[in-house]
Amino acid sequence: MMTAATLDPTTRPVTVTRARALRAPQWFVILWRNKKARFGMILLAAFVLMAALAPWLAPYDPRYSGFETGLPPSAEHWFGTTGRGYDVASQAIWGARTSLLVGLVAGTVSTAIALAIGMTAGYLGGLTDEVLSFLTNLVLVVPTLPLMVVLAAYMPGGGGVWMVVLVIGITGWAGAARNKRAQILTLRNREYIQGARQAGDGIFHIIFREIAPNMTSLIVVGFIAAVGGAIGAEAGLAFIGIGDPDTISWGTMLYWANSDGALLTGGFARLVVPGLLLALLTTALTFINFGVDALSNPHLREQ
């Protein structure tokens, strides 16, 4: 395997920076070699492009409701129009933005909480660990959807996308926090951590600079899983009418398809398109995670 370690040791300060620069492609190469991860990355890239280029890709303004209602799929309207006169294809394309945005932000929030709680609990141990672990286990067993629904009901002003992001972020961290705590427990007594402690490095320095880099793949796997979970949660919440029903997202598309009787009037495309897009996006993330697992566990690498 080609690594930076083969570089000339005499130019050490330079190799350190060059090693960093060279390492980035290496993780990518391993990911790319994994067939499942490659498939996932291509699929995800397609969704990102779809979201970024939505204004150019979408045939119509997703908020323009002047079309004839309930049209079947045709050349003008690829997936027909909704019961309220919107173009389904345009809404589906713009919906990628909402899903990716909610997924990224809520995934980041819950990963940050998971990191803070899991790592503090695992590293400090003792009473702090007992209290934080108890909190984690409590949140872990409370059924998530009812908790999200109840929290959302009390949020001021009914709320839009950001309320949904917040609710998803603060309910979805517990499983990841538990994994991180377990991981840090195995790392904290290694020699280099002991060394850093004896050298007088602060707790935050040790946790974030010494321990965290060794947990990168676990953190990335947790983050990608959290993004996928948040995308699904957003759709579920939107579907039951929590959040602003005028947001353009795959969940609200299904909400409207269900409430204006798309099932009865044969609006099959309106039902299938958002659901399949949701499933494909989540699948892309799951498949990337197969590859990230292979990064940290060479046994899983495909030849």
Binding site: L140, V141, L145
Partner: protein
């Protein structure tokens, strides 16, 4: 015994935590939900039982009392089984309304949960035994994709195909209006027909988590030294698969049982909503959209406690089945 004592201790603590969480959530909101409810009830109907009003106050909080005395009131009301009146179903109490919905959810969730677990575990064991075959690849990749399909979306598709296009099964409700609910054969047939589609919507993705978990556990357990030793000893494939592989691999799946339940409760809520099934999930969502806070809080509390009890059951079962768990805690 230490293992069981610890599990029960943890159960009691989490129970207290869940009850307290249920107390704190309404009080963290900026508005005054209790006052709003009381005003609405007063407008809707002149007479309200003072004890019920007191229970609503204890559930949701009133601004003038100290947090501590509110907490004591709240706990006393819970202990007395007094959860207040439902605003939507006034003058019925929350307990009455939940009592009607609970059996539907218990049957729907209970059946699909047990079936999912059994099917998922068996299928996972079989796939693990045939690991690295084409069959394994198809099942693993296929179910990874299938598992990403949202419950409620599958429910919508099933309605579209089986209820509307084919017309085989009813699309909504728990029983038809023509049949009187009761222990009659007609009612059971009718309820069974209404049960099939919601159950199918849950069963499509339900077993997948356990299947993948079982597969991974069993692949690992078959690679252990004891399994290799068993093979060297010349044990039959059947004994090796069941007694050496599956028996060890099933243990983590039992702990996973309770954790998955929390997710399944949410999925069932969405499925109930789609099918207009008269269970707790639909009731919860209905309570949310009507801002029926006492009903909402109580359902939340009930579902959390239900999951906690199931969790305790799984933990205790795990302790009985796996001597290592008992020994580890004792050491």
């Amino acid at each position: 015994m230490t293992y069981f004592a610890r599990r029960i201790g943890f159960f009691v603590l989490t129970l207290w935590g869940a009850v307290t969480l249920n107390f704190l959530i309404p009080r963290m909101s900026s508005g005054d939900p209790a006052q709003a409810i009381l005003e609405q009830v007063a407008v809707k109907d002149g007479y309200v039982d003072p004890a019920q009003l007191e229970a609503v106050r204890a559930m949701l909080g009133v601004s003038d009392a100290s947090l501590w005395s509110q907490y004591v009131d709240y706990l006393q009301n819970l202990a007395a089984g007094n959860f207040g009146v439902s605003y939507t179903y006034f003058p019925y109490t929350v307990t009455d309304v939940i009592g009607d919905a609970l059996p539907w959810t218990i049957v729907l969730l209970g059946t699909t949960l047990v079936l999912s677990f059994v099917i998922g575990t068996l299928l996972g064991a079989w796939v693990a035994w045939r690991r690295n075959s084409g069959f394994d690849a198809i099942v693993t990749v296929g179910s990874s994709f299938l598992g990403t399909l949202p419950f409620f979306w599958l429910a919508l598709l099933l309605i579209y195909v089986f209820a509307i296009t084919l017309g085989w099964l009813p699309s909504s409700g728990g029983y038809s209006g023509a049949v009187e609910p009761g222990p009659s054969p007609e009612f059971f047939v009718d309820a069974w027909q209404h049960f099939l589609l919601p159950a199918a919507a849950i069963m499509i993705t339900g077993p997948i988590g356990w299947m993948l978990g079982m597969r991974n556990n069993m692949v690992a357990s078959l690679g252990e030294d004891f399994a290799r030793f068993g093979r060297a000893k010349g044990l039959s494939a059947r004994v090796l698969a069941l007694n050496y592989g599956a028996r060890v691999a099933i243990l983590p799946n039992i702990t996973g049982f309770a954790l998955a339940l929390g997710g399944l409760v949410g999925g069932t809520a969405l499925v109930e909503q789609v099918f207009n099934y008269p269970g707790m999930g639909r009731l919860l969502l209905e309570a949310v959209s009507n801002k029926d806070f006492p009903l909402m809080q109580t359902i939340f509390l009930f579902s959390t406690v239900g999951v906690l009890v199931a969790n305790l059951g799984a933990d205790l079962l795990y302790g009985v089945l796996d001597p290592r768990a008992r020994r580890k805690e004792a050491a």
